[in-house]
Amino acid sequence: MVPTNLTKFLLILSLVWLSQYSQAQQKYTINGYAKDAENGEELIGVTVYVNELKVGTATNVYGFYALSLPAGDYTLIFSSVGYKTVTKQVSLTKNETFNIELPVEVTSLDEIVISGDPIDANVTDITMSRNELDIKQVKKLPALFGEPDIIKTIQMMPGVITAGEGTSSFFVRGGSADQNLILIDEAPVYDPSHLFGLFSVFNADVIKDSELYKGGIPARYGGRLSSILEVRTKDGNNKKIGGAAGIGTLASRFMLEGPIRKEKSSFIISGRRSYADLFLKAAGQENLVHFYDVNAKVNWKHNNNNRFFAALYLGRDVFNFDDTFGFDWGNITGTFRWNHLFNDRLFSNTSLIVSNFDYALEFDDDAQGFNWTSNLQEFSFKEDLNYFINTRNELEFGYHLTYRRFSPGEISPTSEASIFETQEIQNDYALDHSIYLGNEQRLSDRITLSYGARLSIFQNVGKSDVYIYEDPQDNIDIVHKDTLHYDHLENIKTYVNLEPRFAARFMINPRSSVKVSYNRMVQNTHLISSGTVPIPFNTWSPSNYYLKPQLADQVAVGYFRNFKDNTLEFSVESYYKDIDNVTDFADNAQLFFNKDLPTEYRQGDSWSYGLELMLQKKEGRFTGFASYTWSKTERKIDGVNLGRPFLANYDRRHVFNIVGTYDLNDKWSFGGSLTYSTGRPITVPAGRYKYGDTYQVDYISERNGYLLPDFHRMDLSATLTPRKNKDRKWKSNWVFSLYNAYSRKNAFTIYTRVQQDDEGNIINGDVKEARMISLFPVLPSVTYNIQF
């Protein structure tokens, strides 16, 4: 079935090109890289516009563009937000290469900036349901403990929901937290949290660019259902040595970058470490907690046709209590990339990627000491190609191969006398092949289409033993009927899925457009967690003999409009998403160290719909955005909540956010954010009963039947840049933050207990009370940053 459809699809696609080739006349190609004039960083998404033909393109994620034009004289206009527009006259008689450098736009506060860009991405770009993050703005915004965090800004975007403050999880268009593919330099990060989610692993000093796809996801991405968060780090200044450092309330960071060989190769290295533990140690505290991050990258631009990059991230959280027990977790990712030009129009990116996530728990005790470790590794080979066919067609296609190894848990005793024996839950292995093909086609000045598909072939392979259960849904009286043995790399189960992707843009006029998109996504890695927020001690499992792949279909439609010479961008989008086989777990599931985990799996349906509004101002003294989201997400799963539909535990009906920064003068700038959302649902008992004379047992009538109170919070910040900076090599600034400015007590969660007084003594064993936990009162912080 599937292969036939694919063949048909490919056939039609090739016919489309052939018909265009037949009419082609003598054409030449202009290509090259767009770079920041100051530090040589490649720039992503720079629009390249041919004034005479009213056509254009944009640089790809590696900063490369190519245009195929008939011979003639042209005016090329290169533009990007935050950079001066550069115009180039070209007389095209042969293939040409133009590497262009864009100077940074220094917004002098006296002059009124009118960008008047001929092209504006918000309206004209085919992509919808996508948000870019301006890292410069993130740094000016108020931050918890003064640590700028892109995830906190992502949580303010339309269509994105949070579980509450103090977590790095986010929920995109009705998808759970594990349905987000989070990439740093193309390598997946399985747990992006520090300190259980107070901060994310992304150090703002090294981030060059980040974007979030919520819908209309291009065919080159796959593997998760709901979103792609792509974070790209800087390549390092290839013109001169530079750096930055910051001292914050909780952590300090430094960054150094510079050329190895000028204009040819460069490096960047950066580190961050929290230091609360150092103070605690000095104060004689035994409980020690810290985290750190290291980012490093080198690149070598051999020539225009061959460029090499190697990037490394490693980060870890370490907790120690009284020397008796501790735990730690962390990610390591590595990426090696080779950008190669096969010819003027065929751009290739070859990547080798590794990612490792692991955690460990250690309890040091003679009788009950144990050491518990769990980890997973991913190795990928990716070949991505961009073929700039002509000004009307831009093709992307590629092949991704991924091998994953999941090691859910191993326990070993820490002493001879320990009651624990060495035990291991067996590993899982998976092979994942994907091929994809997508074309962006400009049908006319008004209509652009993007269509393609991704074919995912996922295999759960040995070595493994698969238990056959008498009843796979019976998690209490577990009976193994049979055991199937599989050898190393022997196929256990194969899942083949075709993921069609489609998007279209229709220009109503130069200032407004309508866009529609459809995408199907497949997810073959499942997070084994039933809590609202994933914790680092969660394991992942591949689709296997019992777990089926999760499938999501999403349609979205949007209206995009710019005002005031493109300085104000407005959009309204609506979506409907349907998920099959969403992974959930049985009531009271035992998810830790359970060799019969398959009996806990419950898969079912999830559906979500919503409306999102966004108004954004990217240039001028005041920049920022306001977003509003109305959405609803439900699930219906056999064996959960008696098979009745229930609200997802991250569902919020209304979410409203405002984020803004204002440059008062060259000394002071201010930032602020305001968030308001209706409460998320939790499960509270509806009744209780007394059992065995002493036990007060809760009786639950409905999952997620109670809404927490509304959430709202305002944060403020001020950045002071001393005037004497101008003449100094070392530039410094101070960032003052006020988190939760009016000290709102927001409900983090509500739980119930037997009535107790302030000391925890039980007042009346027969009376229950509800307790609301709120995390952060007003929290001031100061960060001092230097740059050189």
Partner: protein, 303 residues
């Protein structure tokens, strides 16, 4: 080791700034459901089954009893034991000279409850073999920074050979059952959980020592579990694996740490039941039916 405990400790140490308040929660009224407390055994004494209804969550009231029901237990040999209502909601079977005890190891027992309003409920379980209490010992422990000088009791018993035996070890100190959630002592084979490969051996130490009361004085210091002159009686009840799971969940639910860890905790769900409505299948019912074989031994702590 409970993962939620770890996180709880983390929370206390990091987020001491977090705050907690008692609040009013306006809950939807749920229909009350039948609560069946049917734990019977082969001890030669009155066997009791209690029927009550669940109560609104925040209300302080006595559990409403369910009167006028017909309660019988039938075994696979056709023998019927009738439970008569002595007090409201309390149904009792009294041993006779012909039937001095209820139950035989290996037999299947069916509980039948017929309510006055016509609803009826059914449950079936097997009486499993139990482990024999071999002996009880006391060891003297020196004072430590956390624990006073004391005598700790230890029960010696061996798990039956063959995987899949569940036991509830119930200890009585001076005739009083140790019944706090933290004092519930369950064994799956000779250890804590299924699949731990501790089969047919002596119970592991934490289970052997799980018969010591956990009591704190006013200053939150531990009280020595046993003193000279105290007596202890230990029973090992055989329970079904479903009952093991039921009791585990009851303990988890009555002993929730609360706080920040609730966000990472599994969603609240009803503890499982092995009782089913036969007449009106939409009717909710909670509780459990188990028929236990019991072994027991006592000891007095002397110089």
């Amino acid at each position: 080791m409970n993962i939620r405990m770890l996180i709880y400790i983390f929370v206390i140490s990091i987020l001491s700034g977090a705050c907690e308040d008692t609040i009013d929660v306006d809950l939807d009224k749920a229909d009350p459901v039948l609560v069946v407390d049917a734990w019977i055994n082969d001890k030669p004494e009155d066997q009791v089954i209690r029927l009550t209804m669940s109560q609104p969550y925040f209300e302080q009231s006595l559990p409403p009893e369910v009167s006028g029901a017909t309660v019988t237990v039938k075994d696979n040999e056709g023998k019927i034991y009738s439970f008569m209502e002595h007090d409201a909601g309390k149904y009792v079977w009294t041993p006779t000279a012909v039937n001095p005890t209820l139950g035989k190891i290996g037999n299947v027992y069916t509980l039948n409850i017929q309510l006055q309003d016509g609803d009826s409920y059914l449950s079936a379980t097997t009486m499993n073999r139990t482990a024999q209490v071999d002996s009880i010992s006391f060891t003297y422990e020196e004072e430590t920074p956390f624990f006073p000088e004391s005598y700790l009791a230890e029960v010696w018993a061996r798990d039956q050979v063959g995987v899949g035996d569940s036991y509830w070890i119930r200890a009585y100190k001076n005739g009083v059952l140790l019944n706090k959630p933290q004092e519930v002592n369950l064994a799956f084979d000779a250890a804590f959980t299924e699949g731990s490969n501790f089969d047919g051996i002596t119970f592991i130490e934490p289970i052997r020592r799980g018969i010591n009361p956990v009591d704190l004085d006013e200053d939150d210091d531990f009280i020595p579990p046993y003193d000279l002159g105290d007596s202890i009686y230990v029973e090992i009840h055989s329970i079904s694996n479903e009952a093991f799971y039921f009791l585990t969940e009851v303990v988890i639910q009555t002993d929730r740490p609360g706080g920040f860890s609730e966000l990472f905790a599994q969603p609240l769900a009803n503890v499982p039941t092995n009782i089913y409505a036969t007449e009106n299948t939409g009717k909710g019912v909670v509780g459990f039916f188990n028929v236990a074989a019991v072994s027991g031994k006592g000891k007095k702590l002397k110089e």
